[in-house]
């Protein structure tokens, strides 16, 4: 078991519960603290003590466009420094995510190792 605690918090937002689950398990096993949310309202109400160090965000969430959320987060003082990696089954979303201000993008489906490597780049 990997006991190397990283003291890093990752917020994962995806509207598919199974995806949330395996991501949570994998990231926890890697030593990260994980907040897994399937609703986006939480993101909009972040405040200091619970700010994550990294956000994994799906582009298409029920009712909301993830890119709009990214724009909003990047505008707010408290949250604009948090790196955001966007996930999507639409490869074309890559460009628009970058335009919205996200630091990186991963196309679904993806290899877990690939994801972990990307995360290490930012935290």
């Amino acid at each position: 078991m990997n006991v190397e605690r990283k003291d890093k918090k990752i917020l994962v937002v995806d509207d598919e519960p199974d995806i949330l689950e395996f991501l949570r398990i994998v990231l926890q096993e890697e030593g990260y603290t994980v907040m897994a949310m399937d609703k986006v309202d939480y993101v909009e109400n972040l405040y200091n003590s619970t700010l994550p160090d990294l956000i994994l965000l799906d582009v298409l969430l029920s009712g909301k466009d993830g890119r709009e959320i990214v724009k909003q987060l990047k505008k707010q003082e408290e949250t604009k420094h948090i790196p955001i990696i966007m996930l999507s089954a639409h490869p074309s979303a890559e460009q628009t995510s970058g335009e919205a201000g996200a630091e990186d993008f991963i196309a679904k489906p993806f290899d877990i190792d690939f994801l972990l490597k990307k995360i290490k780049k930012y935290i």
Binding site: M1, E16, D18, I19, F22, L23, I25, V26, E29, A89, H90, P91, S92, K108, P109, F110, D111, I112, D113
Partner: protein
């Protein structure tokens, strides 16, 4: 002049045996007498009351009366009844001492034939200057006038016949010109398609007679084998003149009592039958009939009739040809109107010279007439300005890119899908437009024909299908993400436990999931290509490096084949590395799949001046020639029984083809059934800024 007149009197007297001493002794008078005797002009003398006193030989010839017969008679003898009143006024003028010079008038011969003469009448004075008579010099200008009239008439004929291309009108014109000036009866017979003579026109001053004649001919089909009459003219092609027809001739040639009665009723006295000849072919007969014995035809009349026939033949031939052309045109139009596609024809100036109703409706008009009106008003440019035209991918089309324009430039088999948005109504239609040039005998483009098939329904359905595929691809990827995630998780856990067997199973699951992902991505790509929206990111990269990397990855999955690389190094190309990689993966996948019995696949990379060339060679089942040209088409599957046993969607080569095309490169193959296939891709070495 006076002197001469005196002499004339004396000479006349001498001529008729009344000699005087004066005359006998004057040789000059004898000389003058001789002139009068031998003159070709008729010279006659008369008293103031119009009694003829002298008459020269020419007058005998001209009027038919001998001097003995006419001297002592009134001049009115040779004057037609209706002109006798003029005589009095002429005499009066003479009495006043006037000379009548070059006066054209009509006289009647002894045999009743009328002639046109030019006369000069001079008063005769006696020694004291008193007018005692008149002397007339007359010249027969009948022939001359007739000739002039003929020329005038023929000019009129030519003018009238040239005025119309209409068949019926031409026939009426000809009839009107001939009747009643030249003939009392006039008929036009034409040889019809079955070879029978058909009466197409009959004219007579009296319309009831015309009706009778038409009825008659209905019962009276002329037999072309008939030895006489119109049928013979058709056979010989020569005109015939029947100057004087007598009752005996009727009796001789009538085959039945009816015919005889008929001839008598028609009352033919003189006839001319003239063939109508055009383009070397006798196609009809003109029949001129005179029912007046005094007006019988002569060779001069026949000559005139032949001249008329010449002109009439040309005019009728043209009218017939024109009518045939019109009929063909109408038939074609009727056919084209019933075709479900829109059809237009453009000339070299791009003017639309024909459009059927469907084409007009596609342009928003109710009929082709309405469209023609609009075109006359605003021209093609005006018409096109009502639409926004795009190609399949949604790029704006300039007028040079329109299929019609390309066909007019000489391009053959032009085919394109054009999107027309009607600016006014905001309605959009999609048409499959096929354009083809039509060349003249010199090989120059004369017209372009455009065929529009409205594919709006089909197209919208296609759009929905593509949209569906896009959505489906996305939907499918979500569960696959979860599958892969948990598979990876399991792999990590089981790796920690050291269960190699289970690990290998999980590895297989992962591979299959990757395959599934690729299939879905390809499907998505296909639908994107359709609308020209496949994404590309271009840069310079080394083709040989890409090839070797790809081979490495693929080798891991190809257990039975050895993937070899042969080629040069440092071949730099410009393009989308991932997409070219996709092409190579596709080619390698096919190579491996279709050569199960072989053990190797060779990848070669080389370059020349302009291009880099990549090739993938397999030693498998090969591709039959007839399929080779279709193999890059969307969804194309080789439907041979053997090939059907191989799995696949038939989209890999379609996508590869599009990717290569987008790179301004080419993809082709060489293959032999049973020996294997080699697929080639060439890519430009430099980026082409367009």
């Amino acid at each position: 002049m006076h002197f001469q007149q005196d002499l004339l009197v004396n000479l006349a007297q001498e001529e008729r045996g009344q000699k005087t001493d004066q005359v006998q002794e004057n040789p000059y008078q004898l000389y003058l007498a001789a002139i009068i005797e031998s003159s070709d002009d008729a010279i006659l003398g008369k008293t103031l009351d119009g009694i003829i006193t002298s008459w020269n030989p020419a007058a005998e010839r001209l009027y038919g009366y001998t001097a003995q017969e006419i001297i002592g008679q009134s001049i009115a003898t040779i004057v037609p009844e209706e002109l006798r009143d003029d005589l009095a006024s002429i005499m009066q003028r003479l009495k006043d001492g006037q000379k009548i010079d070059h006066y054209e008038t009509t006289r009647v011969r002894k045999d009743g034939v009328r002639i046109t003469v030019m006369i000069t009448i001079s008063p005769i004075k006696d020694a004291s200057g008193k007018i005692i008579g008149a002397s007339t010099t007359a010249r027969d200008i009948t022939a001359q006038r007739k000739a002039e009239k003929r020329v005038q008439f023929l000019n009129e004929v030519s003018k009238v016949l040239a005025s119309s291309l209409d068949y019926q009108t031409t026939l009426s014109h000809i009839a009107r010109l001939v009747v009643p000036q030249l003939a009392d009866w006039f008929t036009v017979d034409l040889v019809d398609a079955e070879g029978h003579l058909e009466l197409v026109e009959v004219a007579h001053k009296d319309p009831t007679k015309v009706q009778w004649a038409k009825e008659l001919r209905k019962h009276y089909l002329l037999d072309l084998q008939d030895p006489s009459g119109a049928p013979r003219i058709i056979r010989t092609g020569k005109a015939e003149l029947y100057a004087a027809i007598t009752d005996e001739m009727f009796v001789a040639s009538a085959r039945t009592e009816e015919e005889l009665a008929l001839y008598r009723q028609v009352g033919v006295r003189s006839a001319m039958l003239v063939p109508l000849i055009a383009r070397g072919n006798v196609f009809g007969v003109l029949t001129f009939i005179s029912t007046k014995s005094e007006k019988s035809y002569d060779t001069a009349d026949l000559a005139l009739a032949e001249e008329i026939s010449l002109r009439a033949a040309i005019a009728l031939d043209n009218a017939i040809l024109y009518r045939q052309a019109q009929q063909s045109r109408d038939e074609l139009h009727a056919i084209l109107q019933n075709v479900a596609d829109g059809i237009t024809v453009q000339d070299t100036k791009e003017t639309i010279i024909y459009a059927n109703d469907v084409a007009a409706q596609l342009c928003g008009f109710s009929s082709s007439e309405a469209m023609a009106v609009a075109l006359r008003a605003e021209g093609l440019t005006g018409l096109l300005s009502n639409f926004i035209m795009k190609d399949e991918a949604g790029n704006l089309l300039s007028s040079e890119q329109l299929p019609g324009h390309r066909a007019l430039a000489g391009e053959r088999n032009v085919q394109a899908i054009v999107q027309y948005e009607n600016i006014a109504t905001s309605q959009t239609h999609w048409s499959l437009v096929k354009a083809e040039p039509i060349f003249d005998e010199y090989g120059q483009v004369q017209f372009a024909v455009n065929v529009f098939t409205d594919i709006t329904q089909r197209y919208m359905l296609e759009q929905r299908k593509d949209e569906f595929i896009r959505m489906a691809s996305h939907e499918l990827k979500t569960p696959i993400t979860a599958l892969k995630g948990f598979t990876n998780l399991l792999q990590r856990r089981i790796a920690r436990q050291g269960d190699e067997g289970s690990l290998s199973f999980l590895a297989k699951i992962d591979i299959q999931l990757n395959k599934l992902t690729k299939l879905i991505s390809d499907l998505l790509d296909v639908s994107k290509i359709q609308v020209g929206k496949l994404e590309y990111r271009e840069e310079y990269f080394d083709l040989d490096v890409l090839a070797q990397e790809t081979i490495e990855i693929m080798q891991g999955m190809a257990k039975a084949h050895h993937l070899q690389f042969e080629g040069q190094k440092n071949i730099r190309v410009f393009g989308d590395r991932d997409r070219i990689g996709q092409v190579l993966i596709n080619l390698l996948t096919n190579a491996i799949k279709y050569s199960p019995q072989a053990d190797k696949v060779i990848v070669r990379v080389s370059a020349n001046q302009e291009h880099a060339v990549l090739s993938v060679q397999d030693f498998g089942i090969g591709i039959v020639e007839s399929h080779q040209e279709h193999i890059f088409e969307r969804f194309y599957q080789v439907t041979e029984p053997e090939e059907k046993t191989y799995p696949g969607l038939g989209i890999g080569l379609y996508i590869s083809h599009d990717i290569v095309r987008r790179h301004h490169g080419q993809i082709w193959l060489e293959s032999q059934k049973g020996k294997g296939s080699t697929f080639y891709v060439n890519l430009p070495l430099r980026s082409s800024e367009k």
